[in-house]
Symmetry: D2
Subunit: 335 residues, 4 copies
């Protein structure tokens, strides 16, 4: 569910970058210290770059502005180009990271939730992933003899959004979880990134729980390992940038570029340096009024991109959850 | 959810017609008796003909083959022609009958369920009705000052079907009902008719509960006033005829027509009379094998028809549930 | 464009079967003669059975009821099951047969026409194939440096149907052909079969030209090698059976079965034998009135099937027209 | 077809505003002169504000940057709110202005072209308008007895875009025009606005011809009264703002606001005044690289908005072209 209520990013990796650019972090770096409570691990290659961010303490939480837990980011610059080889590498990496995070026993039942609004193109990622998923729980229940070895029980729903159902998404998910009692919950969602280059090229996996329609600030609706007693993994792909954020960041680049061109200590340089960047952001929001929070920036080709990326994410899930089968088998299970 | 597992109709009015044509019923009629346990009431006009069938006893149940309760049928021959006047009369009649059946107190919360598979055109009626519904529960909760007088809390979900979710539809609905505790439940579903002329021209309202995906015969999943402690109303529109039923009925017409043309007591007449109609039905099913239960007969224009009829049914619901507003207000509430 | 105006099939292979069952053909067979003017050739295997019917004379035309020319049929019983291996074999066979029929020189420009109504699920095959096609003419014109070796100029339109555009489809195609002057024309269309088993399991390729919306009988609108001076190939897949035809054929099977069970020369046997099958067909049409020509029989899963089969047909075309590339390259060219 | 190749607007009314803010125009105004070659006329009310801009000379062309001719703009702030009353007023005004511009004789045949890419939500306006159009040419040709008095022959196509068909859109339209020889051509297209407030609230009608996919600069493909010998009217609705333009304009607002707050002749004020705004625009484009020309800014609800606005525009056309009918009759003619 794309939530543009603040200028901050849904991606831990971007939040970390922003922190690393802060004066606080730069000073720590000069002193040879790494930020406490944040552990970074790199893997993968240039096609699929993997970054594992672990936030291990309250200090880490405060620095990054994200709850404690594990955040794995796959960066795949060619993900939106529909390159068959890159797609396969992405599916493999996603399946591997998911399996490591979920640590499911054989035969575990997984419930997959496709968050977001299917009527809003860039928000439809979750429901589209669900529609490409190998849903098998009912087959194992009613016709197990027709199911391949190594297929696990997977079920899935796309609960819609508050504006469509009139019901908090968390209520629907809770209701289903209470009756089904699955062994793990996976939620798929479209995210907002800060940097346009991340749109449709980044996949984030996190084990810190979800708060669908979180802007409303409803603690009761949080879905996490703590509240549900089962692993809760969120998979997100940024599909938009908030217009105010984009404008603000472009403006910062322009100011930096003008400063680079001016002699240091010239009046012009100092004036630019003195621009209050927070005040500027408020001005931009005023300029975009009454559209703030409602304007999204996307590539023109977003309809196509969403449908391609959804297939890749769904197949990553299919390979992670059904360990006995290969990509060639998936077709027979998809409606 | 279109269920073609038997040749019988989902419509009480058709079941009643079939019974009235049986030799048992004909004999009763000759004796001046009406079938016990079935009360029929007619209303409406030639544009929107209303038939209220009440099954009041076990004998009635046995005759008609439907559970005890109220079945209201609207027959609107021009419903599929998109005639504005007829649409408005239908919406009025549907709203009136629904209100009478639901008898809701002001401010009651209604949960509407759009049953069926949105990927199968003639089965998508339920989800399409939901997408044209005035969903207002969240508005009354969070921004009541923006809601017109006389708008009641309505929420709605389209839970999908077992083949898509891997979860019994009844489980999902139960889970949501348990958390939301609405005052009434309304389920919308596409039906199978026996007579092609009923397709997209008939709306049935019943208060006897629903068993989504009922073929499976899962008592636990029945949703009714008895099991849930709140009114449960089902609204259905036939959108298909089962191919085996159509073939069988067409064949009966042919046989009858041949019999009419032959001299009574001729060998030919007697031969035709002796054809075992049940055996014939079995032969037809064999002839259509392996497609039996999977072949549907629909008008070519079914995609259009479904989308028109969905709007009419949704507006009947909108007018029934939000008694303070008019059709002209609906647009402002629909996404 | 699905045309249900008569009970006959769009498939040459079915028309040939019907002829071979006629008393005329049976007598010829007894006399050791093959039907003159019809040459049959078989190829392929049990996964993809290939039958090449060549009608070489007016006598052949009269027997089969189809114009002189070549008709190639691929029969793929598992086509609708989304089996990856069978899909690949089908794509290979389709590409090979198409290349042999088209005999295009390198660098030839092909115009592909997706016939049918995109709003009517079983009629949307043509437009869906076009949407999965590698369209390249503009790339070769404007950015040839970004196009792989062995990619030929392909362009494509889905002209809609008379009821949507108000224009004879043939007029639109003619208008575009006149301006573009391609080297070959390929038209894709959904067909009506006689036998339910052929639906979504058969692909027909023919070089005899097309008459879109042919029921209207407009000679001026025929698109063929003769009228356009370029190869015109039609690719068709049956997606429906006409309800009257289905009913009629099921009834014949029932009658045959009853006859088999009765002692020969019994009154019953003779009565059944004497049923006038043409009169019976008229009675069925009357029984289905006013729906005759508007009722279609399809599998319930037709939406899914259409989208799968469209991809296979599109890839057969992609492999036939762009001889320098492989299936793995297609993704990069599809929007 | 949304073309983001430059920062300028598709709307004559915005181009005129930009000109009126230029130093050149301000000086003319001080001298009491109005810009030569531009005639402005206002009409309508606050719900539907009508501005008729007529560019009458080369000087006017040069000032505004748009070709000579008539540009009528309807501004409807509530167009995106689905208010029934405002919709009806808009349809009336649009029908009236269109009739005045087209001046068609009774019985004239109109060809409507839905420009744009149906797979790209904000570009799908043209095809969506066409799908809500009363297409009647074929009915008047084949079943005139079923057509109401006062219905004129209308036909319509959505030719797609170069990237989908591989064919210049102008070629397809030309081919169809050559064969059909209609009396008038109307093209519907999604536009890019400069000001976010115009998105989905403004309808522009112009009689200056169209150059579909015009960025390519292909004179041969221009469709205008001059090249075709019949009235050519373009109807456009802005659905996006280019991200670079939005960023640039927001930045200008920020700079202006900072200047307003600083004492005039302060160093800061002068520095801001000296920022080269063209250089700034180049910097923004560099900052948005490699996305320039591919990023669009839209309201999140664009899918809904497009479908509502399409209906209003289509009904404006229906009322303009079929003068004998009312809005209540339209339903019976739409598929």
């Amino acid at each position: 569910m794309i939530n543009l209520s603040n200028r901050y990013t849904d991606l831990a990796i971007e939040a970390h970058e922003i922190f690393m650019n802060s004066s606080e972090a730069k000073q720590q770096a000069q002193e040879g210290k790494t930020p406490p409570g944040v552990v970074i691990e790199n893997a993968g290659d240039e096609d699929v770059k993997i970054t594992r961010v672990r936030i291990t303490s309250r200090t880490g939480e405060a620095s990054i502005g994200k709850p404690m837990g594990n955040y794995i980011t796959l960066e795949i610059p060619e993900l939106k180009d529909n390159n068959e080889d890159v797609n396969k590498k992405t599916i493999d990496a996603l399946a591997r990271e998911l399996r490591d995070m979920l640590k499911l026993k054989e035969g575990s039942t997984t419930l997959v939730i496709g968050l977001g609004n299917w009527n809003v193109t860039p928000d439809a990622l979750g429901p589209k992933v669900v529609s490409n998923l190998m849903v098998t729980r009912h087959l194992l229940q009613y016709v197990p003899e027709h199911v391949d070895e190594g297929v696990s029980p997977v079920c899935a729903i796309s609960p819609g959004v508050l504006g469509i159902t009139g019901i908090e998404t968390g209520e629907i998910v809770r209701g289903v979880v209470d009756r089904l009692k699955p062994d793990a919950l996976i939620a798929i969602d479209a995210l907002a990134a800060r940097n346009m280059e991340r749109v449709s090229t980044t996949i984030q996996i996190a084990d810190t729980g979800i708060a669908p329609g979180g802007g409303v600030g409803n603690k009761r609706m949080e879905l996490s390992e703590q509240t549900l007693g089962m692993p809760v993994v969120a998979i997100g792909v940024p599909t938009v940038v908030d217009a105010a954020t984009l404008t603000n960041d472009a403006m910062d680049l322009v100011i930096d570029s003008l400063m680079n061109e001016s002699p240091k200590d010239s009046g012009f340089y100092n004036t630019l340096k003195d621009i209050d960047r927070d005040q500027k952001y408020e001005l931009i929001k005023a300029a975009l009024n009454p559209f703030v929070g409602h304007l999204i920036v996307t590539p023109k080709e977003i309809d196509d991109i969403i449908s391609r990326v959804s297939k890749v994410v769904a197949n990553g899930l299919n390979m992670a959850l059904h360990q006995g089968i290969t990509l060639d088998d998936v077709g027979r299970y998809i409606n």
